[in-house]
Symmetry: C2
Subunit: 217 residues, 2 copies
């Protein structure tokens, strides 16, 4: 069980704190607004009203004992997010995740001591756009090392043929590692018969290879 | 090539519009703020200053020709996002994605005609929390039909042993479909020798099965 602190209970911070708590993590939720602190207190291990730009006040929370502190203060209080981050680094918090509202803010947060930054609006905008731009690709995530994993509907030209026949690996430089059909995920793909309409192929390959496959759909 | 319209060039809308444009989609970006419209105009096919709550003004944009309209207006202008969505539905736009700032706002957007809603702060907060709660799980995405795909570092107990020996499928009810090692993604896992320290296993299974595996790490 990890010890997490979430500072700033706007929409992003609230979601971080409550989801961590649902994952059985110990969460201390902090905000200057007593109404928010009160509202979240039933869902987390502890909730405290505190102005985290006040060095004495933040000192009393003993945040250096935390596994990780998320500074979720938002665009309305950028200065507070920067100052809070600096104080946390000074206190020796081992992992600080700062929420950035734009690239410059992100660079400043890293400069004053955040170990990682996240920009929820920018990252979700990017994700939504990718999802829209490739409708036959149901989901696409980077695995690392230049390969993505993607889910795409079996192209019409593949229906009725087996994976062995189709020789996807050689023709497209992508590997079908699983097939979703009728509510089940099958990962022994080589033993399967011909592909059926509606089959969802789970594929690994470089983004360009996956695009070529998706373009057939 | 799709025809997309993004209304509202805050951080979320800006990211949607520019990422779609980088994916070679045709994008019309719309905002009441001429400075934002001017700034984005180099990055998208077209950018127009318009108050989308004005029925006549929105009519001149002929948005019914779009594949999809994203209403990215934010928390500062909830009424405008609701009114805009209603007007788009009235105009017969085939797919409207509404950005919701909380659950009630989301329900209202669906009621007035959005086909889908997205809440960037809430969804990213949820994602960040899950990533934090499972540090040995590098990434986890739902594939559908009750199975997730996850990437996790090979547990110490697995190092030096082959997948056949480890019999992961029978012991954990999860399938290792690929291994990331030394900058390459290997998807012929059965042919591989013993697992090495630092190997990243790409695994498919139910969330509970993946948690059991991750707990070994
Ligand atoms: N010095 C501070 N100490 C603790 N909490 C703070 C401080 N300053 C601001 N906050 C809290 O941070 C929270 C989020 O900040 P803000 O309202 O700026 O973000 P937002 O952009 O609206 O957030 P979101 O997009 O996540 O909804 C608020 O609840 C606010 O009370
Ligand atoms: N009636 C309208 N027509 C067109 N654009 C609008 C209208 N009302 C607001 N906008 C634009 O929507 C954009 C985003 O809205 P807002 O400022 O409320 O969101 P935000 O929560 O700050 O956004 P983000 O979190 O994405 O940065 C602004 O650029 C604003 O000018």
């Amino acid at each position: 069980i990890g010890e997490y602190v979430v500072i700033g209970l706007g929409r992003f911070g609230w979601a971080v704190a409550t989801t961590l708590a649902r994952q059985d993590q110990s969460v201390l939720a902090v905000d200057t607004d007593p109404a928010k602190v009160q509202a979240i207190s039933v869902e987390v291990a502890a909730a405290v009203t505190c102005d985290t730009t006040d060095e004495a006040a933040i000192g009393e929370l003993h945040l250096e004992r935390a596994t990780c502190v998320v500074v979720a203060i938002g665009v309305e209080h950028k200065d507070a997010s920067i100052l809070t981050t600096a104080l946390l680094r000074q206190a020796g918090v081992p992992r600080i995740i700062g929420r950035a509202t734009n690239d410059l803010h992100g660079r400043v947060l890293l400069a004053v001591g955040a170990h990682e930054i996240v920009n929820p609006e920018k990252e979700m905008g990017d994700r939504i756009a990718r999802r829209l731009a490739r409708p036959s690709l149901i989901e696409q995530i980077p695995l690392g090392d230049g390969a993505d994993l993607a889910e795409l509907e079996a192209p019409e030209a593949f229906v009725g043929r087996t994976l062995v026949e189709l020789d996807v690996r050689r023709r497209f430089d992508a590997s079908v590692v699983a097939i979703r059909r009728g509510g089940k995920v099958h990962s022994y793909v080589l033993g399967m018969g011909p592909l059926e309409a509606g089959d969802v192929l789970v594929v690994i390959g470089a983004p360009a290879a996956l695009s070529r496959l998706a373009a057939l759909a």
